[in-house]
Symmetry: C2
Subunit: 201 residues, 2 copies
DNA sequence: CGGGTTAGGATACAAGTGTATCCATACGGG
DNA sequence: CCCGTATGGATACACTTGTATCCTAACCCG
């Protein structure tokens, strides 16, 4: 079968296999051989398309960030970007895992996040997404305040930081089974009502 | 040196060594030999005082829970348990790491939490603390509502769940260096002001 | 139509893992 | 005094890990 193979596609499939393992059994269970088995190829193939385990792990982190980004964009686009509350709700709903797919990705993300706390190489390779989100939403909410959508005595930067931290905390509790998606989103809605006033139907 | 040795003390020291490693280099770096080296004993000693690695890990988790519990109790006792806000502030300040010691414990806790997501044995061995805290604080805030300390249209259960999730999310951001302790506690104070009204000096 | 490069199978290797075993020592109680 | 047991040192074992090497097969191009 050899000659021309789509390297990019092969790397994507191997990365997907890696994230499937990380999402179900944790980063701890990720080994070259496990990835090969999950992807249905031989160990040599994994070695052939990635320089080493480090490169593989970084590829997984990058893909995970790309997926989150895609999800946020799709959801905010679907929400029409009408009100600031709509955008905020869409973003927060994206962070808290709702279906099996996003649950697996959140698991993998948590695993990476924890690993990055004690592995400088991973940390450098990409936890920039949270900061970007925070800035984007802050400017958005500042505009909303100018437009009178929220009270003047609120601090947009603090509100956004709190909401994002809240979403992260809720994600943890959902992943551990302490709460389900519905309960988590109820809490988010409760907080948004406090910020914007009761939902406008 | 042999005859009579305080087994309990020896186990505590080994557990402490384990948590020191987990807090600085992650659970991933925890091995029998590493624990032995960290505690300054031989591998055989670690084997002698613990049935196996699983028992060691469970001991670490138990100790971590006990430390958190102790910290919360000490802080709430020091706060005098006067107002509901005082208790709440004390608990939340305990969750968000402020000094190096609590930072290491929070690191270890995060590592355990993540591991428990994909390891049923660890999950069963002890993530009950969050639920207990949530219930305790909820009854406390319900009483405070009856006493008129917070507005009648607040839902104590949801408020507490949100505050605890917020504290967890803030902890993550502090551990990753995105924010420092001071910034995190400012956000907590901001939220408490929203709930109780501006601080009473 | 044949070599040369690409794609991958099979296997080897050193390092690190948890666990088990063998054996020496030192003390307390008889 | 001395023997049995508590304590721990040294070492071995089977296994998994990441990585490296050897070699075969297939395709594109001249």
């Amino acid at each position: 079968m050899p000659r021309q193979v789509d390297h990019e596609a092969r790397r994507r499939e191997l990365t997907a296999a890696l994230l499937r393992i990380a999402g179900t059994r944790g980063l701890r269970a990720v080994s070259m051989r496990e990835i090969a088995a999950e992807a249905g190829v031989s160990l040599r193939v994994v070695q052939y398309y990635f320089a080493g385990k480090q490169a593989l792990l970084e590829s997984g982190l990058t893909e995970l960030g790309a997926r989150m980004d895609r999800r946020v964009r799709r959801r905010t686009a679907a929400a029409g970007e009408l009100t600031a509350r709509g955008v905020l709700e869409a973003v927060l709903a994206t962070i808290v895992p709702c279906d099996e797919e996003s649950r697996l990705d959140s698991m993998a993300w948590t695993a990476y996040y924890t690993a990055a706390l004690t592995d400088p190489a991973l940390a450098a390779a990409g936890l920039t997404l949270p900061d970007a989100l925070e800035n984007f939403l802050t400017t958005r909410l500042t505009d909303a305040q100018r437009a009178g959508e929220i009270a003047a005595d609120r601090d947009p930067r603090t509100e956004i930081a709190a909401l994002l931290a809240l979403a992260n905390g809720l994600t943890s509790s959902v992943l551990s089974g302490q709460r389900d998606h519905r309960a988590a989103m109820y809490i988010v809605g409760y907080q948004l009502d406090r910020l914007f006033g009761p939902a406008t139907p």
